[in-house]
Symmetry: C2
Subunit: 508 residues, 2 copies
């Protein structure tokens, strides 16, 4: 057995599962990358680069709220992204890409209270630009600009938000989003139901444990505020208070509404009667019967759509994963109908940390956004979702750390070694042949490496096969093929090398 697990398909299944094979190994990979002594060469510095260390207060770091992703992190990340993208493709989506920055005016007045978190570029002459804040607004801009009337697209890319990392723990200023959206005028709630189905497929597929998707509708929320006699001018502010109900208890939310946002206490109490409720499709029916709410046209439209949505979700077999939650508000300005947010459910033992997990996927309907960009105001109804891959990534990273599981960061299949001096030429010819045959191969960049060093490298890196060439082999026209795990060696004819290796690799 190699010193650390090579992550095959099955191992990945267990990585994403609850059960992980523990391993008491120290971090071998880290060990390797630091174990070689640093022989600083007397490099001829042709260019006139000025060393940073000559400056007074030089600190080498990444910008606040950002980080590098190590090879280990990249392996986990790519596995997660592959799974998410597979799901998006299963639902017929095309991939789109948009620039990292947009004209500043494209982003203004789209994000409500969060607009201050947008990164602007310096005015260096020319257009005023901002880094994108999400992938939804660029998508709407794309649809309007190209007059596309229907499209099912996905996009994976980084977005940037100037959040204060100290306030919102574990939140980065640069992070990856995976979005799936359906644009077009269709019969009601069919695309909306598919979006919820996709969220279930992704979260089940990643085996993150039990989860729940909270669903609400902006029109129901507006209806509640209206029938509770909240002044229209306070709708936004009160909504953002309600949105905090998943993080702080009702009495604190109520206090904020009354003390900070100037709402009458009896109005706040009326709101409280509604927004503390959640349940299944039966709650939808109950709200239909509510004497006050049933008088509100918007609320009735929202409830009607939710009723239809639950019908489709039942056909998709996911209705029990969905909770109609009257407190769900979602911060962004552009939503117009159904909204949803997936949260992971923790076991009671972990309940304390429950509040910090936050949502791992969210989305909703935004029927007006494209029209904002269209020169004639023509709109295209849209509904979509975003997977919070950073949080999922953090959860899986933590799980791996706990289990002590190591990951291969390279895919090298064969190592080319020699026990003898002055065999660099033979090694180079040999490895070139392997590369040309599409075999993933490495050697040490040394004229005369020790055999033990070469074999250790293979064990540390999890390389399964070694090809060994020496004086004797050269004379006899053979090559030794060694299995690193079993330490077995077989002699094979030089001319059969590639075929034999390919056979070995297909067997494992």
């Amino acid at each position: 057995m190699p010193p650390f697990g090579l992550l095959h398909r099955r191992a990945w299944a267990s990585l994403f599962g609850q059960l992980l094979r523990p391993s008491g190994l120290t971090s071998l990979v880290a060990h390797i990358s630091h174990s070689f002594s640093c022989q600083v060469s007397e490099a001829v510095l042709i260019s006139q680069l000025k060393p940073h260390q000559e400056k007074s207060n030089f600190v080498i770091k990444t910008p606040k709220g950002t980080r590098d992703l190590s090879p280990q992190q990249m392996v986990v990340r790519e596995k997660i992204l592959d799974m998410v993208i597979d799901c998006f493709k299963r639902h017929g989506a095309k991939r789109l890409d948009t620039p990292a920055f947009e004209l500043k005016e494209m982003l203004t007045e789209k994000y409500g209270e969060d607009s201050g978190l947008i990164y602007d570029l310096k005015d260096q002459g020319g257009e005023l630009l901002s880094l994108r804040y999400d992938l939804t607004v660029p998508f709407a801009r794309y649809l309007a600009m190209n007059k596309v009337k229907r499209m099912k697209r996905y996009q994976v890319g980084k977005v940037w938000r100037r959040e204060s990392p100290t306030i919102v723990q574990g939140r980065y200023r640069e992070f990856c989003q995976c979005d799936f959206d359906i644009a077009g005028q269709f019969d009601p709630m069919i695309p909306d139901a598919e979006c919820l189905k996709i969220m279930c497929e992704v979260l089940s597929g990643l085996q993150l444990g039990d989860f729940l998707i909270k669903v609400n509708d902006r029109r129901i929320l507006d209806g509640i505020l209206a029938v509770c006699a909240v002044p229209q001018s306070k709708f936004h502010a009160i909504c953002s208070s309600i949105d905090k109900l998943d993080k702080i208890p009702w009495k604190d939310v109520r206090h904020e509404m009354v003390a900070k946002k100037g709402l009458a206490p009896e109005v706040a109490d009326r709101i409280g009667d509604y927004v503390q409720r959640h349940g299944g499709v039966s709650l939808v029916e109950e709200m239909f019967q509510d004497s006050r709410l049933s008088q509100n046209k918007q609320a009735l439209e929202g409830l009607g759509d939710l009723r239809l949505l639950f019908e489709y979700l039942t056909l998709f077999g996911i209705a029990e994963k969905i909770s109609f939650d009257l407190s769900l508000a979602r911060g962004l300005d552009y939503y117009t109908g159904v909204i949803y947010e997936a949260v992971l459910l923790q076991t009671p033992a972990q309940a304390e940390e429950c509040l910090n997990v936050g949502s791992v996927a969210a989305g909703g309907r935004y029927d007006g956004l494209v029209g904002v960009f269209d020169p004639k105001g023509h709109t295209v109804p849209c509904v979509g979702l975003s997977i919070g891959v950073e949080r999922i990534f953090a959860i899986l990273e933590e799980r791996m750390k706990t289990a002590g599981l190591k990951i291969r960061t390279t895919e090298t299949q064969v190592f080319v070694a020699t026990p003898q001096k002055n065999f660099l030429h033979e090694r180079l010819k040999l490895i070139s042949e392997l590369w040309d045959a599409g075999i993933k191969a490495e050697l040490l960049y040394k004229n005369n490496p020790k055999l033990l060093t070469q074999l250790h490298y293979c064990e540390h890196m999890g390389i399964p096969l070694v090809v060994i060439i020496g004086e004797q082999e050269l004379k006899e026209g053979v090559i030794k093929l060694r299995s690193v795990a079993s330490r077995e060696e077989v002699a094979i004819k030089r001319e059969n090398l590639v075929a034999e290796i390919q056979k070995k690799l297909s067997e494992s």
Copy 2:
């Protein structure tokens, strides 16, 4: 046969090859996305989004020098990136990712005359930041910051440069780079030779036509300037003039040196004797014999390394692809040794456009860059390369346009259809079953679509299979499975649906 070619492995081989199967079809994909009438809904605009069109001079566009990538472009792009990444992995590289922006001071004084092209972020309180200009400087910063002494890594990501798109045609301000680098103290020229091997593998693999890799060494260039008696203070300026020799003739370069950069005419002529030369390993030997150059220590070191490099390149079977070109200078400040640049060779008929193709891959050795970041000045020698995927992408896109080849932008395998009204529930149950089995499936988001509309959609989108359910099938407990290409239909048992589809798909 479906109306446009589904791009299977073989079709891709021909796409990347010189021969393309022509097709007289109009752009069906574009047709589909525009053919549906836009029934603008009277969306209830809950949020207070302000329409852009109310503003006076509203133009909807992407920022200057940037563009969206359509689903068609994304398919081609991902194929190219997959091939490049496959090659990097074949050579044992790990993947790294760094933030889109760095502290401004990390980027200053690294790019010579091009530093003015760096995008700065607006000072919004906090650190001064700049968008990354390449992936090399962030890599060096990563090595120094984490005290990594050896690493073979690749990175794929966007970089940003404020180039004037009107001056340098077809160059974007946002573009993708694919970098492979080897960091560490090793025996000379082994990693350097591998970098050139990788460039050959990528360019051959993408079947871009014949190519040549120009090689030079910064120390040889500096040696030439020294023995030609160029004042040290003018080295940088003269180097950047020499670098233009692939775009403009010697007499113009000479004029620039003399008239603009104040070089004595006889010094320029001496330089001209050197930098207009190119050839194979024999030119290296010839330069060793050069009475002036052989007096220069730096030049001799460079020539010695090139001699060794050619030895290894011969073993790799790529020596004939390499040209020792004394005019190659490379703009960036951080190179210290061997430098290289791959250019595509055009057939004589296309010679006129030859100059516009430019380099499709480039790189070199930069032994001093990590030391600039290290607090104690410890350095890590590095050598690497960057694949110019944007240019490769443009070439392949042009080739496809000429050939009229259409690309599938989705991977949908099965379409769920019905000839009858009121069958939405059955369709939803059925498609949910397919998704849960991992089958890529779509349906129309309509309660009662016409059968013809559904079948047309499959033909247009290149979906190979259709599952049809109706009153009769429901009664008999069967499903019709239709092949879109042959229009053949077979009845299969409802409970065997998934198995039968998987069988069909594995056959095709």
